[in-house]
Symmetry: C2
Subunit: 349 residues, 2 copies
């Protein structure tokens, strides 16, 4: 007896075995509401499908239905940022959760600037919508896609594009952290940014820092601000620069990863935390509470950041209206790297 080359069963096979038409099979498989199929027939179809091991062909459904049930996630971060971004995985999982809840899957497209194009994902219908994480203002591709009306949600900066965006409330978070330091009596407060100021998140956190100073009537001093850049080493360098200029009694570092480098520089300079210098971070990565000392920081709701982005995109795809801008609240987590300002000591290097 010749072994039939096993072909994957199609809905026609199921129909034949159940003694019905393909249409009926389709109705049963898709649990189509309003179709008048008696329980007995329904059962027959389901049994036949099970016995044959039938699984509808994804591409065929996509073609016929005109939807891919797939969300694309475009990551525009550079390699540095990715390695440094301790919360990326959590955000990703939030997105995946939202996608699943809406019946979608997630296609991942990591694409450092200048390293390829992603418009095809949408234009070829491989994806019903896109979440663009870390979009830059000079992204022409993105501008075109938005203009053409594709469902897109931005995660991060706003860009003045006509697409909904989600982000953490960086400004308020930074404001809260610095206000906390001021409340402890600090007046000379340094700031090390999380990234170059071309990044919106960096400028926003810096703005929050200034807000708090303004509020307390403390003059802004550019000497106290140094740029960090994603990785811990940049925090170390920034702190060295800062200490070369002046000695603050507290430093707001707009990223936990950058902060750990900064803390190392403080130790190397013989300064104790928080006795000599208080440090506040941003992000509340998992390791922050295990730093030496445990780091006071601003917690970011990473999971809901991804989840919210996913939900918004699903809504947009469904054609429902969506908020233009969603800001997620942060939360100050007070640990041991901050304390009341020390008795005045001779400042300056």
């Amino acid at each position: 007896m010749v072994q039939q080359p096993r072909r994957r069963p199609t809905s026609a096979d199921v129909a034949a075995r159940a003694g019905v038409s393909r249409t009926t099979v389709s109705f049963v498989i898709n649990r189509r509401a309003g179709s008048q199929i008696p329980a007995e027939t329904w059962q027959r179809v389901e049994t036949a499908a099970r016995e044959l091991g039938y699984h509808p062909h994804g591409a065929a459904r996509q073609l016929a239905a005109g939807r891919s049930l797939t969300l694309g996630l475009v990551l525009r971060q550079s390699a540095d940022q990715v390695v440094a971004d301790a919360l990326l995985a959590e955000t990703l999982f939030g997105l995946a959760a939202a996608a699943r809840a809406g019946g979608y899957r997630v296609l991942l497209e990591p694409l450092a600037p200048g390293d390829g194009t992603y418009a095809e994902l949408l234009r070829s219908q491989r994806t019903d919508g896109l979440i663009v994480s870390g979009p830059r203002a000079d992204d022409d591709e993105l501008v075109d896609l938005v203009r053409d009306g594709f469902p897109i949600v931005l995660q991060g900066s706003r860009l003045g594009l006509d697409a909904p965006s989600v982000d953490v409330d960086n400004r308020a978070g930074a404001h809260g952290a610095v206000a906390f330091l001021i409340g402890l009596g600090h007046r000379r407060i340094g700031c090390i940014t999380n990234a170059p100021l071309a990044y919106t998140a960096a400028t926003e956190r810096l703005a929050g820092y200034r807000d708090a100073l303004d509020e307390a009537g403390i003059a802004f001093d550019a000497q106290l601000v140094v740029e960090g850049s994603f990785v811990a080493a940049s925090g170390h360098a920034a702190m060295v620069t800062l200490l070369g200029r002046t000695w603050p009694t507290a430093v707001f570092v707009a990223s936990d990863v950058v902060a750990i480098g900064a803390m190392r520089a403080l130790r190397e300079a013989g300064l104790r935390i928080p006795r000599d210098v208080s440090v506040v971070g941003f992000d509340d990565i998992a390791l922050a509470e295990h730093f030496d000392p445990p780091l006071t920081t601003v917690r970011i709701p990473a999971h809901s950041l991804g989840e919210t982005a996913g939900q918004l995109l699903v809504e947009r795809i469904a054609g429902r209206p969506v908020a233009a801008r969603t800001l997620l609240p942060t939360q100050l987590v007070i640990r041991d790297s901050t304390g009341a300002v020390a008795p005045r000591r001779s400042g300056g290097p």
Copy 2:
């Protein structure tokens, strides 16, 4: 004049505009080798396509060609592990790079055990192959898929399944780390695992630890081994337990994240690193060199782990033979958390 409802152009539209048949368009779009199309015709088609803004419909191609050009990545880690896994993003990027090189995209399916099924990805042809990260032995779904001959690559444990697997050489890495400690004169060396021993990686690293002891003729002492579990807090608890039993002169912690918790416990016990106790970690996460003190650890090639998995899968999909087991080498990175054994001090709690 009535505004035509803009329909996305199909290959038929391109064909009409270029004055050729759909077949010719298809040949041009796919750069089909061996087709005798004169340069002039070729140009006409390309121009027509550009002018119309034509983009082939992904699902239609998948259906016709019988391939989705998509790789699935199934993450079987629990939420804890994901948040703790600082190298996940890097691995992901390695995979994405390999996928792109092979003309594939990556579909992400995070699926903590007991939280859903992924067989459908393969059975519905939405995906041409699967990489399963962190597979557990009791995964029946996986067993079935492998039996049915789907292209699958395992990342992590081997499981005795008939599917190629990629992993870091955990055992050799741990062996090297512990041998290094022994070389420094340590004899009482503790071990805190990275995870419960149900996880292959944990048992392998423990085996490497024993290998090194055996080699040096040091008797294995179960009192010196404590289980950690992914997160830093577990390392803290494990170290407290260990110190409650005995005082080792060095500890091998099979995960940097767990190690930072362990180091905190040492500090709290008044012990100095490395003067009183040497510590070696595993993974070489980005922050390890900024710990206090900078951590000696075993570097994992995270990027190439993902990349290799991707390459293997692409090969398997193409039907080419592939190594059953690929082990990637690790590298010991010596920093400041390790030192020669201290002069003997009264041991025990």
